[in-house]
Symmetry: C2
Subunit: 362 residues, 2 copies
């Protein structure tokens, strides 16, 4: 994965001798650690990646030493914390300017790096790391594509897997199971399954108490992880037959989503794409009910760097992978969101998720 | 959950006006945010909990505002980053000494809190937060117990679910599915399923290529999450009939695990318990092959504060929940680990995981 070091350092505007990426305890792991090393197996709590322009070295615990060795990385293995500290001191004291990822490094580990390096200047390069991660490399794209294929197949199987009377948790279990049987390493995140009025909350957590009832919206927001890279899909269904209002909301969101997709191409601003979707929703009777931005970057994290939002001035570039996911949320009634993952290209974009966008019934 | 504020402030040796717990972007969420708020639904990226001795207030995005409201917490909802910044500034500028969790707060958010509070003194209270979290409260214990029951039931179903020819990923899918059908909110972590020689790596990630073969060890390390609290179980099986060597390794690990469990009680040092397990393994022909500590705290995180280790001087206290998980790992051959979750009591401990510890075959 020597291409990652190259990408990190070519995005660098600041002078540093090396970049040090350090994990704390789960969940506080640095996604750039995995980006830079390409490691697909293992947990790597408390482990350190030292990235120089032409090489990556890791300090790893015995708990995942075999996985690290298989990837062919230069690896130092510690048996305990004392040895880890000695290794860090030994290696970090060579540097006088160290790049760190302030967006994922903990305050505690920041102090540790400062101390063990003998007071090196720690330079925040989180912006450069984000820039580097936004343009996906071929090995990353192939993993994302696979994750998208798996989730799309699972999505198209929803009508055969999930029906009236099932709880949200059971439905999430079916989805997760299907993705893994199709080859996912894991679910990309805890799948959201929201029935009825709960579909109005974007980050809702499924309940083992709530059952799918006739007339309910059923919103599924989920993704597959494949070798640490992820997909992220949302589709909304109706249990039984849909009402006119449900069809109207769904059609509005779909129009908004397609307007956004049509607007995407290399060189366009994310704000313009957000506006294309928002214009459709805010131009009608559901004005103001699209309560989040249109999309976010996708890669090794579900919320990877980059966004399609009115709040920033990002320009879309060929090679970026982003979600496109407008929604309408009506408190006490329910919501609809439709989300695909796209790869930005020179003249437009390629849609990586292939499942049906019709308002299907369960 | 007013008991959590009380626990945090009664563990406090430093003077602070409030504790500020702030999430970054997934996976970099602060487990103390969820400990202090008790929130069971929602993601809460970029959200903030402000904990005073007698109240908790949260600054939350619209994406999980409904979940937050249902928990009855005092809540301020932001629609965008600008509003979030204004709310933080408004609330944080009241304080001159703010407690922060250096072990989970990112460097970036630390700077943000410093700036928006108008330069308040930020005091690291991660040690106090850990102390407070180690002694489990009744609501936490009941969630952990439920998570342990679910995982134990799934574990006892392994022989009926998993057999020769199945891949590690498929086996993990079966386990995860069973736990959710039994009422888990999610898997506690990406389940480890390791067949054959791969069982020698404690933090191995399952592969969709590796199939269970006759004579293989099959190691399963997994847990259920229930309302954000988790269990963590490991059991090792053999496919087909076991060899003498496999039975001997398994019996040694089981003896070590039972020696550790027998040694646990309020007032005993973690190091003494670790020694009890290690003495069994290092006293025989598998000397040196138990390459990690005997256990770790368990609660809202899989690796919660606290450990059973020779490397620290922690004293076990009634009310702590810990894993007990010695193992023997032989590179190129395979490994055995047996892990239970226990609640420390005055005169001993209560074992919360109930699945069989025999060397069963698949």
């Amino acid at each position: 994965m020597a291409t990652k070091e190259k990408a990190i350092f070519s995005a660098m505007k600041k002078e540093v001798d090396a970049v040090v990426l350090m994990n704390a305890v789960e969940p506080n792991l640095d996604s750039c650690f995995f980006y830079a090393t390409g490691l697909t197996s293992g947990l790597f709590e408390g482990c350190v990646a030292i990235v120089e322009p032409k090489r990556v070295e890791i300090i790893t615990s015995e708990l995942e030493a075999l996985s690290a060795a298989e990837e062919g990385l230069k690896t130092a293995v510690f048996e305990n914390n004392e040895v880890r500290m000695r290794m860090m001191k030994n290696k970090l004291s060579r540097y006088s300017r160290i790049g760190i990822n302030a967006k994922e490094l903990t305050v505690f580990n920041h102090r540790l790096i400062k101390r063990l390096s003998g007071g090196a200047r720690l330079v925040d390069i989180s912006h450069e790391l984000s820039e580097s991660r936004m343009i996906k490399q071929p090995d990353e794209l192939s993993r994302i594509r696979k994750a998208c294929r798996i989730a799309s197949m699972a999505c198209d199987a929803i009508p055969e897997m999930i029906g009236e009377g099932m709880t949200e948790t059971e439905a999430a279990a079916e989805l997760n199971y299907r993705m893994m049987m199709l080859g996912a390493s894991a679910s990309a995140f805890n799948s959201t399954v929201a029935f009825g009025a709960k579909s109005a909350e974007p980050h809702y957590t499924p309940s083992s108490k709530r059952r799918l009832r006739n007339g309910n919206f059923a919103l599924f927001d989920f993704g597959a992880a494949y070798k640490r890279y992820v997909s992220d899909i949302t589709r909304t269904f109706v249990c039984g037959s849909s009402s006119k209002r449900q069809r109207e909301i769904h059609a509005t969101v779909l129009n908004a989503q397609e307007a956004a997709i049509d607007a995407i191409e290399d060189g366009v601003s994310g704000a313009a794409v957000d506006d294309a979707a928002r214009h459709v929703i805010d131009g009608g009777k559901y004005k103001g009910l699209f309560i989040h931005s249109t999309g976010h970057g996708l890669g090794i994290s579900v919320h990877d760097p980059g966004s399609i939002s009115s709040a920033n001035d990002m320009t879309l570039k060929a090679g970026m992978v982003l979600t496109v996911e407008p929604g309408i949320y009506i408190k006490g009634y329910g919501g609809v969101r439709i989300e695909d993952d796209v790869l930005v290209t020179k003249g437009g974009c390629r849609i990586l998720t292939s499942c049906s966008k019709d308002l299907r019934t369960l």
